[in-house]
Symmetry: D2
Subunit: 128 residues, 4 copies
């Protein structure tokens, strides 16, 4: 796991709103996409199979603080760090940079769970 991971993301037109900026909810999709890119970089996926079924990462917490705004075709540099790695959960911290200035910061906490059809997700220790 690198200390930090960088993910480039261009703001798409359908993500802008009538205030001519990316909608605040889009940043949560950006966080997830950066997380998934990190997992691909590490050779895994947010949805993985092992011999006993499917492992996935339901979210328990998500937050974002906005200090700026981004517009159509702006390219952000999203910096991802692991803020906390627990036994069954991980918290990612994100910094959204536009032209080297932070426009937002966010956090996402996900729990490692075994998914079984017809039952609620059950948290399990993160595979190592």
């Amino acid at each position: 796991m690198p200390d930090e991971f960088h993910y480039q993301r261009r703001v798409e037109f359908c993500e802008t709103d009538a205030a001519c900026i990316a909608h605040f909810s889009a940043f949560f999709q950006y966080m997830e996409q950066a997380e998934h890119a990190l997992l691909r970089h590490l050779g895994t996926s947010v949805v993985a199979e092992d011999e006993t079924g499917t492992i996935s990462w339901p979210r328990v917490s998500a937050s974002c603080e906005y200090t700026g705004a981004v517009q159509f075709e702006d390219v952000m540099d999203i910096v991802v760090k692991v803020a906390r790695l627990g036994t069954t959960s991980v918290t990612y911290a994100f910094d959204f940079l536009l032209r080297n200035e932070s426009v937002a910061t966010g956090k996402l906490t996900a729990v490692c769970c075994r998914l079984q059809h017809g039952a609620p997700p059950q948290s399990i220790p993160i595979p190592t």
Copy 2:
């Protein structure tokens, strides 16, 4: 099945774009939501279970012609008609009205399919 079904839909802020109108792709979500409201009105759902598994309606075709635009908080009256009812497929026709003027028309064709895990959807006769 009524001759036509009416579905009221307000344009939400996150559906607008930097041109200050509902994004053209939102109309396809509106069509689907009007279809689902019609199916609920008929006492069924787009995802139904029978004794042998799950039945759903993958889309094979979707189109929309735009003659106007709608903005945040506009309330549309979406008129749904069954344009064609085949043995295994149905085509819905939609008219999007704002203050009694058509701003768009669309079509959506879906095929009745049995879904089985690990296999492609298989078209089946529409249950009656």
Copy 3:
């Protein structure tokens, strides 16, 4: 302003993801839609005009804690309260109930701003 405001919201199919639940980012759109419904109930809008231009409410903070999940066609009761009313900003608190059980709670802080073309939004006292 009522002590609390209730907003009913059905989970639409396009808001679900491959885990068969509403995507976590959808809850931020639900919060905003509940806020806008409250503002309409109060006879105003999130985008208002006064004699000197446009007033709007950029977000400075958004967060959500998830304790459950919702599926296609689930109807949530979203309870909105004003958690804090400052001079220039307001914080809303949301509780998402499904069959009277909380599945998520969230907060959204927005700043009252005057929007001027070509300039950054400027915070102003909330009109009374």
Copy 4:
């Protein structure tokens, strides 16, 4: 203008639905993103400014035929061609390929318009 333009696009998790495939409406966002990538490749943008104001491209027609489906993390090769270039409008044709097999084809027609605040878009000859 090249005869055809290729745009790679990975299916993101938030674009999938409870049928575990990319939602049919996402293909219209993919088309637009491929169009915008083509315009950037040509050194322009879908929202351009000239000396007399803003020029943009409202959509008058959009359609998609689906012959397959794509899942989370699938990478599509989207082939864009100009199907028709008129005086004021352009029609793009799209082919969505997954592992060299077509899963969908689409069309998008846009009209070159001058945008003026408070007036409907006015179609103009495409700048050359």
